[in-house]
Symmetry: D2
Subunit: 387 residues, 4 copies
């Protein structure tokens, strides 16, 4: 966390789109984007409702002038700003169907983009966006925020360095329960997530499945060749709320993904197990400061988040803010995604090569492809679909 | 554990087949069958090697006369014994391919049978055995010993009584790692398990997959309609050592089974998660004294093994020997299977109906069917196979 | 986290003293004080070394003009600022011996104070400071940050509302290991903590013991009447690094405190168990999103951090930022202390009564008294000392 | 577990005293003493009530003739038996006040003794018994059964071999909750444990405190020089139900012991932490198959029970019956104590030196001394008492 904005000589200016309603993710963007004090939130179009957009902007400390009533007004207003005040980056925290038009317009207007997942609701849109990122030379990062956890970066580095040998099997599970008994003890949230017009062709498989799939790819660099998928609608009337995916990878490894939003009492239970030829690693999002490392015949090891220990890779170290035992969690991981983006904004300013230490538009394309392939397989009674 | 042999007025006499070599399961039978002091081990054919059979019998305290040199000699010898000394029951702890001939011969000789899983190496044999059990009126129990754990009995009772509503999804995972680096820190065991002649058509899917499948059926009464299966051979040259099965059940529920014997550092990691419409339960064999119960919006509950607590069902209570906090484990669960058998031997003596509080020959048939269907699906590139 | 600075109409302006060196706590103040976007860090005297102070200020984004070379320069400079830019609050993150002079001077200059623990190195200084807080009418908060965790606030509310009955016994343990093998894998930190001139009369008992003592008092409102204390110096040549304290409370309850900085592999292992006549609660800082609630004869309950569940008190709810399962941790808890301070700054501006939802100067006095009494008892061979 | 009764050429014959009532420990003796098939339970005086004694004997399969109506009848009857049938060993599972007279009489009658803890209710009796063991040359083992757990034996071997360096601090905690709300969900048990006439001068400190103290001594060979003790009676009207002891050891180490039978929801929560100069170990009875090993700056290690792994000592290996991951628990540990006794009975028969791989009469003397010193210190307001 020591890398700073040195070449830039100033804080990065962020605009937030969405986040004015009941959803929590907009507020996460507001805090995470600014928590390391490398950026400030200076503008926003916080709701599709103009009144909510205005009042939310004041509540969020953005102020009246730059609390725009619509995304379009935000883009127009910022382009009209003096360059010394104009935003650098648009953070998109709105329902899925708006990701493509908003991200595309932001890039074309010359802004970097941080966008919620999935990237788009259609693969063709995702591919178009990838092309626009290339053309505009702007940065687009996707908030697969779980890849921002220090120990996930450690896991990736361990796999990459061969510490667990070749990956043979990956198991990812992402379980939530909020679609059960929504009235008891949990706030009604994410109603749009069950509306195909807004969410796209999948429900749970898109909402949490893409996180699980990205996490597994991030840690292991697994290259899927084909998949089969089972989907169920146990509670949700419009879209899937439970699913099982099996992916076969290049060279033989097998990945299984299980997603649910109907598992009673599961909060945000994302887990990953990676089996390699020399060792295995396990991690669970709800206890993110521990990584379990197993080697046959040896004691099980618990790697605790630690910015200084010798058994840690630099990738882990640079994602830590505080000493071990002082737990870092969701916000800090989310902020690590933003830090990667800021590093690259500084790199651009300094004409240095990009590091892309964040989920890219290409990761977004893979995620949308995952959704479409899953839907296609599930519709064909779990038939194999090429990836 | 209070039920005794009262109507019988004596201990039950057990013969053990197998258990003289390096394998551990024979010794488990020896201890578990006698631990509640309702039975004594009086005879054995402990090895296919006559010399080993003799010396093992002495070491196990069976004595020379009834330490037979072969299964056949055991049956003949016991039939020649006076009825007041003759065995009641044959415990079969030998490689899979012998289960059918041994069990069949034991039944026909008039002995009850406790047999290791899987029941047989062929479905037709299993069905034949089921028929022989019916014809002979003898008891046959299969050592799906994990169903003997008190909290698994509690889980089954909770599902049966509707405490978690209708079952919608089941996830079972059974992970071991001993096929990795067999030379480091783990004894070479179960070589026959990789030999299709001895083990049958599947490796890991038979060895631990049938346990996982039985456990899930035991807890949930899930009725599979069809399945798809992926198998891999990451380490084993002859048979599968990793597998994924998806089962679709009558009425819509989905079961996923993952089995491995190539996951570094996993010892005997059998877990089950059951999602119901009103709640969910989770259990892990390596911490068998806790059952996790989740209900959306409420605190997570840990039911600890407890013979007296009000939230426990009789099925759990009667499987406990000691107060909570004094952990009971593998042997005690295994012995609970034997207790169920002894209860029914007493019932037979008293002309009372059987309770069948143990895995039956019919469970064995389902297990062998599971293996055959998995092999069939895996061979057909994970095609659906009717169950 | 919804309460805002509404009556103030602007962000609160913070100056940080200390934090420019290797220590981590200054950076924690910088992030935590601003993470909810209710305040900005506008000035600092970040090191006792003028050069470090200057460069650190630039690195922290404070800028040259208000990156003062000394505490005295900070106070003088800020008093010379226009009121519209002047700081509201001084955050003191320097070695213990400076707490009293710096806090006292800041209060007298008209600034609110957030100060690291322990409050002072002498009880008389602590009492003087309490008097100065009263006289000046300014706010002083002590960063006993562990009381900012949502589930600790839940625990306190549960005790206060009688949910676990009368408290009979409290056990607090705060274990670290960094004084062992400081060269292996851990950064050399806190050298001043072993220097009585800078740290005061106790080492570990002051550094972590006061946290443990405050946490126990915070949760239970335990009123100590007398204590006995054992101290050891296993590694540290100057001050205690291991200690045991037994406190006897008004009405009979017993509290035991164990502190260590010589326990291999313990990172920041603060735990509390509270036994009441109707129930018991347990919490561990390294897994801060769970609170264990036990009642005899009932299932153990795990209360997971949850801003909406019915079993949660408002005190917990208002300390949460995101939904359950998305872990919040050290920074967020630390920021909650700042939020309490900001709420009271707003209250002062609005002439409303203070809420004091943070550790106060009086808590600081109790902490310093705890240190002095422990040292006194330990010196007298663990004799009883009146509290 | 491979050691057998080879030199003896027969099973050892055991008589059980006590165990016919509601208490569970008699049944534990019955199972544990015979589970490895090295002994048989052939006689008993199972209750002080003659009728209960008779019926219990039948229920336990002992039979009428040797189901004696009193301890005295047992001794007389067995002495009258032919030597080829006579018992070798008396297992005493009766209230504390009978331990001395029964053990003494059994030794003098020429029988070995396995006795429940504490050894006696008076130190002078304990010392007398030690002298009688010496004089008679018989074996006396005390059922500090927790020292029978494989990983506790591993812990002891690790300490002894210097793997964690010199021991500096030990923390033992033994928490139960059954004296709270005895009517809800827990069976009324151990009423005699609150009666000083039967239990001796201490309640919880004797009942579980001696276990905790023995465990700590067993693992660390800690030599106490003096102690201070606080006792409370939160629920129990006659004897202590909560206590804190601090022991200072030869050479500087510090041990703290906390015992409770009034902590809601704690079942049998015995834990030990040992801090050494090179490492630290932690173990918890309710999860007995894991031992945590910590070294500063290195990953935390979990040693799972494992009869074959290289990081295990022989002492652990020889206490295991089955492969790792197949949990062994309370009964198996208890049986390990008996196995140690049987090994020494065989050694006596073979004129080999005793191994004393079980808690001895000297451990019993230390335990009773611990109780008396604790009571003495607590009565003197936690004054130091020489050990």
């Amino acid at each position: 966390m020591n890398s700073q904005n040195e070449c830039l000589g100033r804080r990065i200016r962020v605009a937030l789109v969405g986040g004015g309603g009941d959803g929590f993710i907009g507020k996460v963007h507001a805090i995470a984007s600014t928590m390391d004090r490398r950026a400030e939130l200076v503008a926003g179009a916080l709701s599709s409702n103009p009144e909510t957009a205005r009042t939310s902007a004041v509540a969020m400390g953005i102020g009246k002038e730059r609390g725009y009533e619509s995304f379009e007004a935000l883009i127009a207003g910022e382009l009209a700003c003096d360059e010394s005040e104009r935003i650098d980056l648009v953070a998109i925290a709105t329902p899925n169907h708006t990701h493509y038009p908003f991200a595309s317009a932001a890039l074309k207007a010359g802004f970097h983009v941080v966008c919620d997942k999935p990237l788009t609701t259609k693969l063709t849109d995702a591919e178009a966006l990838a092309s626009e990122v290339h053309t505009t030379g702007k940065i687009l990062a996707l908030t697969h925020n779980y890849s921002g956890y220090p120990l996930i970066r450690q896991a990736r580095a361990m796999v990459a360095s061969g510490e667990i040998g070749d990956v043979i099997a990956v198991r990812v599970e992402y379980l939530q329960g909020w679609k059960q008994l929504q009235t008891t003890g949990t706030p009604k949230r994410g109603a749009w997530k069950s509306n195909p017009e807004l969410a796209g062709p999948a429900g749970t498989m898109a909402d949490v499945g893409t996180h699980a799939f990205h996490l597994a790819r991030y840690v292991t660099c697994f290259q899927p060749e084909r998949l089969t998928c089972h989907m169920r609608q146990f509670c949700d009337e419009s879209l899937d709320d439970y699913g099982l995916v099996t992916l076969s990878g290049a060279g033989g490894p097998l990945m299984s993904v299980c997603v649910s939003q109907v598992s009673h009492g599961r909060l945000n239970d994302l887990r990953i197990d990676v089996d390699g030829t020399k060792g295995a690693i396990s991690w669970r999002q709800e206890e993110p400061n521990s990584l379990i490392v197993r080697r046959q015949g040896q004691p099980l090891q618990v790697y605790e988040r630690h910015p200084a220990a010798e058994h840690m890779h630099d990738a882990e170290r640079s994602a830590c803010r505080i000493p071990p035992g002082h737990p870092e969690a969701f916000y800090e991981a989310f902020a690590n995604i933003y830090c990667g983006v800021y590093d690259d904004i500084v790199s651009l300013a300094a004409s240095r090569p990009l590091q892309q230490n964040y989920p890219t538009v290409q990761d977004g394309v893979e995620g949308v492809k995952f959704i479409e392939r899953c839907v296609q397989s599930a519709a064909a009674d779990a038939e194999w679909v090429e990836f």
